[in-house]
Amino acid sequence: MNEPLPKLLPKDFATDQEVRWCPGCGDYAILRGVQKALADIGARPETTVFISGIGCSSRFPYYMATYGFHTIHGRAPSFATGIKLVNPKLDVWIVTGDGDGLSIGGNHLLHVLRRNVDVQILLFNNEIYGLTKGQYSPTSKIGTRSPSTPMGSVDAPLSPCSFALGAGARFIARSIDTAQKQLPDLLARAHAHKGASFVEIYQNCIVYNDGVFEAFTDKALAADSQIWVEHGKPMLYGKDGKKGLRLKPGTLELEVVAVGENGVSPSDILVHDETNKTLAHLLINLERPKFPAVLGVIYCNPAAEYEEAVEAQMEAARTAKSGASLEKVLKSGRTWVVE
């Protein structure tokens, strides 16, 4: 019998490389959360691969004592797809940002989700371009002033989770960089999910967009402006746990209510069903500050993964054409002998 593998600690997933994000960057917290998650789930460094594109977030692989590939801008999902198809046993994580994943790499993110390749995609959303020094991004709010939009941006922002749902993602979750209590568990859920899992992490860029999420991440405000949804549990939040979400009677939209007020009873509060796509759609599109930031596993509804289907065809071909040889292929069709 093999010796049981030694239990690894978060620090065992850290490299000796100096981490070069700006002091106070939200990425540090995410790095800690990921390293803890890997230790928690018993990941093995030799079968774990981090793939990234370009941007601040994409430096991530250099700091993980696993296999890592820092690739080109926006294309990490394509590299990851090739890797998973060749070796489905590898545990592949994609680290991307709102620029890398949704601007230059939007196409690949779309397709890795629709194909349902078994990877974890961590999209660090800071609503700004950090590495290129502060231009607005596709998730920046209208009116964002930046070096490239001195009068404010005029194009509507994209909701990453809404994009993922539209692309056919079967696992969608949202977190905050500093949510050290919840983040490792959320990542563990993403890891356990078979198929592509998409995790949007609100990440504070301390230099170019500091405080953009403060309205719901500030400790004093968090309880009344965040809701962590959990499958099978009523969607309640707030300091006293009395605020909740319910279907507005007679409509197909959600509303914030307070239990005990205006005749609202606990049974009126909607119970989270993470397998319900319609509910996921409603939750993802709730707008702050009218609604709380919806965090946690919003949607989880597994389906067949891509690499298994591909491998099944390979296996079927091998079975159907056992005894095939290149020589036979060359001699197939019409041949003739010259004497």
């Binding site: 030799e46 394509s78 090739g82 198809l85 060749v86 196409n107 690949h108 290149l326 010259v338």
Partner: protein, 621 residues
């Protein structure tokens, strides 16, 4: 090559050395099928041959228009045939537009066969004829055989009660039957093929066979009124062995499968459909039993990136495209060069720039292949000379990629991809294996440890315990592989990447001449699909007593190490290319030789006569 003469009909067949036949019709007329089946019948009779399919970019261009004309040319003979032929001896024109587009190429005195069934006012207009060209004496230079093939076909298949549309679709088989009769080729292989192709529609199969037989019978029963003779093309004296016909697309696919077995690595083929490169994807997609995984990516960039990911994970990554797609892959090629991962990049060139002429051939991606990336990004570049040569060159590209841990680009082109030639099947057992060893030893490991001789870095794949490492596009430290912004290190790494690729010159064959002496008055230097035209032209010139040699490059970068010396042994050098002088520039800059270009950028291959004329002109003979 006097083929056709208006002599009284007799049953004897006249012996000919070689003949060029072109089938031309509407893109819906099935001319490519007619041509390829005629090719099969010809090959089975032991002739040497070369073909040239020439079709429009539109899948179904408006019927009857000149831009919807599709043609297939075959040159076959009892002596060595290396090109699809300069000018057709026989032109089959299925409609006025096909006549209009192709008649200029038919040699004077050649035979023109037309389907009068489609020669009507409406089609004259569409083709831009003001009057019926069959009656206005404009075809006086040719032997014209006017047959209402449409009516004959309808008559032949009447008993099958097909729709008018389905019945007329058999017309190409009627034409094929007549042509087979003309050249004494057997019908049986076509009959078998039809039965297999239409296994689920036996009525269609039988109708096509009936049309084929009717066309053949039409020739045989002397209804041709003595206008046409039959011609016998003897067997070519090819090297003994088992043969088949092969296109460049097939040979690339099979070469990659052979390479996979020789390297003991599975092939991962990431590709995005593009003309004229897609046939390789199609062939490989049906070869899964060989461990070949094909991935139709969302775009060209994803195609190459998935292939690089596959190589990183321990497969042989391959991607394939044509010029515009290769342009999109440029950044990723740079990453493969920087991270020193093996990758085979197939470029089936077409006429550019931009979309250019997607179905027409050109060799204008040589600069792109050798120089077309940001930064100092050296990459080996190979070029196949013929359809069959694609098999060997695909293996060679894979060998260099894994041995030197580098992307390698293999150039083909639209002509090679679609043209067919007889191929003596290789003895697969004689191919030299090049099995790959992955790094597993932990002691002293870092990802950029190099083989001191080849300068190739170690290949350590994810999943290997203890070898966890990070690679990426940021410059890497020579001694650790960690990211490094150090100036001296960047100089050292850049020089190392250059020297690694240049060192491949010691691992490839010395350059020899295809024909002629290794020094003398004139060298004609070519690469890629101009091979046949140059070789035939040089042979003819040498027969005429001219001192000329043919040098054909299969290694474009690095160039063979003796090439400079070889070129300097000639008083003059001409470089025929289907571009404005790309290899020419490389040769002049590398060797300071006063080479001259001969350039054709019409989307059509060189004719032997084009090159022969240039040889004569250069030598003042």
């Amino acid at each position: 090559m006097n083929v056709i003469a208006a002599v009284p009909h007799d049953r004897e067949m006249r012996e000919l050395e070689s003949v060029v036949v072109r089938f031309a019709g509407d893109s819906g007329d099935g001319m490519q099928l007619t041509g390829s089946q005629f090719t099969v019948a010809t090959a089975l009779e032991g002739s040497d041959l070369a073909t040239f399919p020439d079709f429009p970019a539109e899948i179904r261009a408006p019927v009857g228009t000149t831009y919807g004309v599709s043609a297939f040319q075959i040159n076959f003979g009892s002596s060595r045939v290396l090109t699809a032929g300069d000018a057709p001896d026989v032109l089959v024109a299925m409609n006025p537009a096909a006549l209009k587009v192709n008649i200029g190429d038919l040699r004077a005195g050649g035979l023109l066969v037309v389907d009068t069934g489609s020669f009507n006012e409406r089609n004259f207009q569409k083709a831009g004829y003001e009057a019926n060209p069959l009656t206005d004496n404009s075809l006086a230079a040719y032997q014209v055989l006017s047959i209402d093939m449409s009516a004959m076909t309808l008559e032949a298949v009447k008993s099958f009660e097909l729709s008018q549309k389905e019945a007329l679709r058999c017309k190409n088989m009627w034409t094929l039957g007549l042509t087979l009769w003309m050249f004494g080729r057997p019908r049986q292989p076509i009959v078998e093929w039809l039965k297999a192709k239409f296994a689920k529609r036996p009525d269609i199969a039988e109708a096509n066979i009936a049309a084929l037989n009717a066309g053949h019978a039409y020739g045989e029963t002397a209804e041709l009124s003595g206008q046409v003779k039959r011609y016998a093309i003897g067997k070519a004296s090819l090297e003994p062995g088992l043969y088949r016909t092969v296109t460049g697309g097939q040979a690339l696919a099979w070469g990659l499968v052979a390479a996979s077995e020789l390297a003991k690595l599975p092939i991962f083929f990431g590709s995005y459909p593009i003309t004229p490169a897609s046939p390789v994807l199609h062939h490989l997609a049906s070869m899964k039993e060989f461990g070949v995984m094909t991935f139709q990516a969302e775009d060209e960039i994803a195609a190459i990136c998935s292939a690089i990911g596959a190589s990183y994970a321990g497969a042989l990554g391959v991607t394939s495209s044509s010029g515009p797609g290769i342009a999109l892959k440029g950044e990723a090629i740079g990453l493969a060069i920087a991270t020193e991962l093996p990758l085979v990049i197939l470029n089936t060139q077409r006429a550019g720039p931009s979309t250019g002429l997607p179905t027409k051939t050109e060799q204008s991606d040589l600069y792109q292949a050798v120089y077309g990336r940001n930064g100092d990004a050296p990459m080996p570049v190979l070029a196949a000379a013929t359809p069959a040569d694609c098999f060997n060159m695909a293996i060679e590209a894979a060998r260099l990629a894994v041995k030197y841990m580098t992307p390698v680009m293999l150039l083909s082109d639209g002509y090679i991809a679609n043209a067919a030639e007889p191929w003596k099947l290789p003895d697969l057992k004689s191919l030299k294996p090049f099995p790959v060893t992955f790094r597993t030893e932990k002691e002293g490991f870092h990802p950029f440890l190099r083989d001191p001789k080849t300068l190739a870095r170690v290949w350590a794949v994810p999943g290997t315990p203890g070898l966890q490492h990070r690679i990426g596009g940021i410059e890497r430290n020579y001694d650790s592989g960690h990211i490094s912004y150090d100036a001296a290190n960047h100089q050292r790494m850049t020089e190392t990447r250059r020297n690694k690729v240049l060192g491949i010159a010691n691992d490839i064959p010395l350059q020899t001449t295809e024909s002629g002496n290794s020094s003398g008055k004139l060298a004609v230097v070519g690469w890629g699909s101009t091979y046949g035209a140059i070789e035939q032209a040089v042979r003819r010139a040498r027969k005429d007593g001219l001192d000329v040699s043919h040098i054909h490059l299969r290694y474009i970068w690095p160039l063979p190490r003796n090439l400079g010396e070889l070129l300097r042994g000639f008083e003059k050098v001409i470089v025929p290319e289907m571009n404005t002088g790309q290899l020419l520039t490389v040769l002049r800059s590398e060797y300071l030789v006063p080479a001259q270009g001969l350039n054709k950028i019409s989307g059509q291959p060189f004719k032997i006569a084009d090159i022969l004329a240039a040889i004569h002109q250069t030598l003042g003979a």
